[in-house]
Every structure is written in C-alpha cells, then in structure tokens.
C-alpha cells in the first residue's frame, strides 16, 4: 500500500515535470498547425481565410522621413483590399519590420520575413542600397518583393516587381524638358553618396553630353546625412550652371535647401531640377525654401483626376488631414493592388506562378491614382513622367506631362 502510493507519487511528479516541459511546445505546435494547413501553396503563411504579407521600411533613422509615407500607403491598400473581400477569399495579415535606415538590417529582416514568417509577398525597401542588400535574400529564398521607389534601373530580378519608375523614365524626359523649356546647356550634378545618385548621375551625364550636346560643369557627392553645404554652394556659384541637377536624399535634403536659400540662391536666379524631392520631403524642407524649383516625378498629390481625388481622400481619412502623398507613396500604394491582380490571375499565392502571371504583360490598373499603369514583362511599369513646380504651400503645380513611357531598365548607350 505504502509502496504503491510512493510509486504513484514519484510517477505523478515526473508527469508534472513532463507536462510542464511540453506546455510551451504544445502552444507552439498549436499555433504552427493552423499556419501549416496547406491551401494553394506550399510552405507559405496562408490559411483557409488569411494570407500573411510583410512590410519592410525604415521607421527610424535618416530615411524615416521618406519611408513613412510608403508603408502608410501599403497599409491603406491592404485595408481597402480586405474591405472588398480580400484576395482569393482570404484576408491579408501584415507583419511589419523596421529596416532602420541600415542596409544590412534590411537583408536580415527580409530573411526573417521569408524564412521565419513565410510571408507570401513583401512590400518594402526604399533606397537602392537597401534593395541591393535584400535582393540576394529574396532570390535565394524565392520571395516576392514589391519595390516602390523610382530608381537607377540596370536591374531586373525574377523576384522583384518595380512599381516606381526606372532611370530613363524619370531622368531622360526631365532633362529633355529642361533643355527645351529653359534652353539649358550647362549642368551641375549633386547627390548623396550612394548607389542611386551615382548611377542616376552617370546616366544623366551621358544624356547631357551625348544627346543634348550640353556640358556637365561639376559633379559632387556628399556623405549620407551630411548637413554642411557651404563649400559646395560656393563651387556652384563659381561655375554658374544653367541648371543644378540634384539627387540629395533624407535629412541632408533639408539642410541642402535651407542653406541654398540662406546663400541667396533661389528660383529667380537659378533653375534647379531635382529627382529626389516629393511632397514627403517638402514637409520637412518647408515649401518656402523650395518655391519655384522643379521636381521630376510620375505622380504629384495635386493631380486632378477621379482616381487621385478618391485616393487622397481615403489616405487622409486613415492617416490624418496633415499627411501628404509623395511619388513613392503612390507607387507603394500600387504594390498590393498589382499583387492582388497577379495572384487572382494565377489562382494561387505560389511565387513562381504569380511571377509568371505578372510577366505576361496584361496586368493593368485603371484605378491607379497617377492615372493608368500597366506591368511590362520586364517587371517594371509603363508610366508617365511629370514635372512639377513647387509652391509655397508644399504642393506642386504640374507643368509638363509626358506620353506613357515604356520602361527600359537596360538602356543602350547609358551603361
């Protein structure tokens, strides 16, 4: 009797220990089970009624000023898709990660989203440097990235859909416009020191020298985040260029324009064309420091069409009346919609099938705020280039709109 009870007690104790040990495992298993239920794909975070995607932008650091809008637009698009019934009958769930303006962090977080969270698609990255850092991860893990920023081109990956404009769509038309409208012959190029400004300037220089017959009188790069432009401004003053062609990004942008104005260089004396200022940046720079300068983009918030009016209204409802919408914010908004179209065409979330559906050249959005866009088999969008002149209130007046431009990420003669 006493023997038995002793035995029981010791068993009991062991069982308790075992049960305790198994408890967390059980919880993990239970949560894994619901995810692992295969729907239309293998190994992705897709259940019978949800599909998980990733958003990966810098919420902190020097790029936060630019990237905040992009992730807000992506969330708005996803919310609207969910409200209209989701994708293939599934509601979209979001896992958000912070790239922290640090390129290796983008690679690390991409791996986390693809390997640990098994997301079906990622909407993210902003600078080219962050995309280049994340790209090998997406190619190795066969993920799908919707990249929203206008960028330098010279890239086409199976695993990336580029919803912004590549260099020729932005740079060439803008240069043609300024050469024709302002009779510009001499250009001073200035940018932040990383891959996008440097490659963009290389393309711009070739176009200025070979096509427009103009002259580049100076080319300058400043470290990312630098706030001292006094010497550069003096150099520009000495060279007296017809056009300052600028690609300064992030926090440096604010210092650059404030100091230009402080040095007495304004739009009355100097034509300035920039490829790195959208409504987002103007918020930090201040409209009064930019008045009369030009930006080349594919979208401006002031664009007057029904799609855009509805988009601006919805965006302000979700993110507040003070929020502004820049070029990349709009391009980021296209990402989830393009993904939805491709997934529904493919009938599955499988990356290979979605990419194949995207490459057939017939995915288009008639509801895009910028007007109309179509996905080219080379993973880029057909879109229009627009030149906007900045006004004091931080909005731009569109002074030039191009034809629908074919994306050409590998332009002959510019490499």
């Amino acid at each position: 009797m006493s023997d038995k009870s002793d035995n029981q007690r010791s068993w009991g104790r062991r069982k308790v220990v075992r049960a305790l040990g198994a408890l967390p495992l059980g919880i993990i298993l239970a949560s894994q089970l619901s995810w692992a239920a295969p729907a239309t794909t293998t190994g992705q975070a897709v259940t019978e009624d949800t599909v998980t995607v990733g958003i990966l932008h810098s919420l902190t650091g020097t790029m936060a000023i630019s990237e905040t809008g992009a992730q807000e637009a992506e969330k708005l698009a996803i919310k609207q898709i969910n409200e209209s019934g989701g994708i293939l009958g599934r509601q979209i769930k979001i896992i958000q990660e912070d790239g922290a303006s640090d390129w290796p962090t983008f690679a690390e977080k991409s791996r986390k989203l693809l390997v640990n969270d098994k997301v079906a698609a990622v909407f993210g990255c902003w600078t080219s440097a962050s995309r280049k850092a994340a790209l090998p991860v997406f190619e190795k893990e066969n993920g799908l990235l919707y990249y929203p920023t206008f960028y330098e081109g010279l890239e086409q990956s199976k695993n990336v859909i580029y919803t912004g404009q590549e260099a020729t769509q932005q740079i060439l038309d803008g240069l043609n416009w300024v050469a024709k409208e302002k009779g510009a012959k001499t250009f001073y190029l200035i940018g932040s020191d990383y891959i996008w400004p440097r490659t963009s300037m290389k393309i711009a220089r070739k176009h200025i020298e070979n096509v427009l017959g103009g002259k580049v009188v100076g080319e300058e790069y400043k470290p990312l985040g630098d706030t001292q432009f006094g010497s550069v401004i003096n150099k520009i003053r000495l060279k007296k260029p017809d056009v300052i062609y600028a690609a300064v990004v992030g926090g440096s942008n604010v210092a650059w324009f404030k100091q230009l104005k402080a040095a007495g260089i304004n739009s009355k004396k100097q034509t300035l064309l920039t490829i790195s200022v959208t409504e987002d940046e103007v918020l930090g720079i201040g409209g009064e420091n930019l008045e009369g300068f030009y930006s080349i983009m594919k979208y401006f918030q002031s664009q007057d069409n029904a799609n855009n009016v509805a988009f601006v209204k919805a965006f302000k409802e979700m993110w507040g009346d003070d929020s502004v919408i820049g070029d990349v914010t709009q391009a980021a908004y296209l990402g989830p919609w393009l993904w939805k179209a491709a997934v529904e065409k493919a009938g599955t979330f499988d990356v290979d099938a979605v990419v194949k559906a995207s490459e057939e050249g017939d995915i288009e959005l008639t509801t895009a705020p910028e007007g109309y866009v179509k996905l080219h088999p080379n993973h880029h969008l057909w879109s229009k280039a627009r030149v906007g002149m900045w006004k004091k209130d931080g909005q731009a007046e569109v002074v030039y709109t191009s034809e629908l431009l074919e994306p050409d990420p590998f332009p002959e003669g510019y490499q």
């Binding site: 300058e220 790069y221 985040g225 006094g230 000495l238 926090g251 404030k258 402080a262 007495g264 201040g286």
Partner: protein, 307 residues
C-alpha cells in the same frame, strides 16, 4: 584658375572663408557643452547629441505653439526659444545627473555605457512624442536669406546668427569658468576633489550644476542648428561623432584646445571640400586627425592637471 576675373575669385574667397568660419562656429557650439562635461568631470556623455535634439525639439514646439496662438510674436520667438532650449536641456541634464550619473563617477567606463543607454531612451521618447518624421520649426523671416555684402558676395544670415551665438556662448563660458567664483570652485574640484571638499566646497552640487550647464549649452546648440538642418529622433547621432572628434583632438581638459581644434578641423574640411568631393574631404580630414593623434595622443593642448 583661368577664365575667372579677380573680382569673382575675391568674392569666392571671401564666401569660402565664411563657409569655414560658419562650420567652425557650428563645431565649437556642439563641442563646448561636451568639453565642459568631459574636461571638467571626466564623464563621457554619449547622450550629448540627444540633449542637442532636446533643444531643437523645444524650438520646434515653441514655434508651432507661437504660430497657432500668438502669430504676432513669430518674428521674436526664436531668441526666446534659445533660452527655453537652454533651460529644458539643462533641466534634463540636471535630472540625468541626479538619477544616473552621480552613482557612477568612480566607474568612468560605466558612465559611457549608461549615457549611451540614456541616449537610446531619449531617442525612443522623441520618436514616441514627435513621430519618426523629421521636423523643422518655421523660422522668422529675418533669419532666412542672405545679406548681399557686394554684388557678388552673399553672406547667409543664419550662418552669421550661429556665429554670433557661438561667440556669445564661448565668452559666457569663459567668464563663468575663469572669472566667477563658481568657476573657481569647479576648477578646484577638477584639480583636487578631496581638498576642495575639505575647504568647504559642495563638490556634489558643483558636479550637478556643471553637468546641467554642459547639457544646457548642448540644448542651445540644438536650437541654433534648426536654422541649418532639420530635427529627427536620431539627429543627435549625426553630430556626436564630430563633437567627440573636436573635443578629443583639442585635448580633453582644455577649452582653448577645443576652440583651436574646432577651427582647424572646420577650415581643413571646408577648404578640402572646395577642391575635392565631399566624401573624400571627410576621409582626408579624418586621416590627418588620426595621424596627428598618433604623435600627440593627448590632443593639441595637453591637460595640466596633476595626476
């Protein structure tokens, strides 16, 4: 330099000189607060940049409040906001010393870690309160634009303003440190803490006010820099490297060293930047610093404190 007239070259020379002086005043204003704390107390304050950001955010707050409630006051608020920035950052510094730093004086390396932690906490607070986006106060019109000295020479007004503020602050610090009785007590504490205590100086109080003063000056610097650049939660980290560079190169315990060091770094940087590109200018400046520090590890002006 063919193709340019003497007038043009003269004008560029003058403006380039001012660009150097302007950078000098920025570096000096950044470094003054740190030099006081590091030089007089031996505390390596990694959160210095965040105290600057505190001053910048104070300016931003006052600017938005003024714009909303008393727009007529807009032309004058900026002067007022510099004083407010000094008080806010100084108070924060006072509290930080009281809560954190004073327990760690005997463990200098731990203050490094503790102040770094403090900087992370402050960054995250700014992010939670003001958001991740960078902000800029609306500057009064008289601070913007350029003063056309001649047809060709334009001198940035914000640059002159920062220069003036730097001169004022530097003179004030020198007066405090070397002419006032409070400064005498600070220097006595630095030289021999035990002896200073023995003659009746409240060294703990001295420490607290010195730290608060250093942070307050950092706050003023932050307020002044809103005229040059924008403010974000991590703005401070942009400045902290340059600030330490100036203080270490100048010699930790010497205010004269800090001035000399800020001047030589600023001139080297802006002259180099005129002839080569911005990134390379920075590389050359840093390389030169490293080489000089290899031969003079104590900095330009070695401290004369008895060890």
């Amino acid at each position: 330099m063919g193709g340019y007239s003497y007038d043009e070259l003269g004008a560029i020379f003058a403006m380039q000189g001012f660009a150097g002086i302007s950078l000098f005043s920025v570096l000096l204003l950044m470094a003054l607060g740190l030099a006081i704390i590091f030089g007089q107390m031996g505390v390596i304050n990694m959160a210095h940049g965040e105290f600057m950001a505190a001053g910048a955010y104070t300016t931003y707050l006052i600017s938005s409040l003024t714009e909303t409630y008393i727009p007529a006051f807009m032309p004058y608020y900026f002067v007022f906001s510099i004083a407010a920035a000094f008080l806010v950052a100084g108070t924060l510094g006072y509290l930080a010393e009281f809560i954190l730093i004073r327990h760690l004086y005997k463990r200098p390396l731990d203050t490094l870690l503790a102040t770094w932690g403090l900087s992370l906490i402050m960054q995250q607070s700014y992010r939670s309160i003001f958001g991740a986006r960078e902000v800029s106060p609306t500057l009064p019109d008289w601070l913007m634009g350029a003063y056309p000295a001649t047809d060709m020479i334009d001198i940035p007004i914000n640059g002159m303003f920062v220069l003036g503020l730097t001169i004022f602050t530097t003179l004030a610090v020198f007066y405090l440190m070397f002419k006032s009785s409070w400064g005498l007590r600070v220097r006595a504490t630095t030289q021999n803490r035990v002896m200073a205590g023995a003659v009746g100086i409240n060294t703990k109080k001295i420490d607290r006010y010195t730290f608060a003063l250093g942070c307050g000056i950092a706050g003023m610097a932050g307020a002044a820099f809103t005229t040059i650049a924008s403010t974000g939660p991590t703005t401070g980290t942009l400045y902290i490297v340059d600030t330490f560079m100036v203080v270490v190169f100048g010699g930790a315990a010497s205010l004269f060293g800090t001035i000399a060091s800020a001047f030589s770094i600023a001139q080297a940087q802006s002259i180099l930047e005129f002839f080569i590109s911005g990134s390379m200018a920075k590389v050359f400046t840093l390389l030169t610093l490293v080489i000089i520090l290899m031969f003079k590890p104590e900095g330009l002006f070695a401290s004369k404190v008895r060890r």
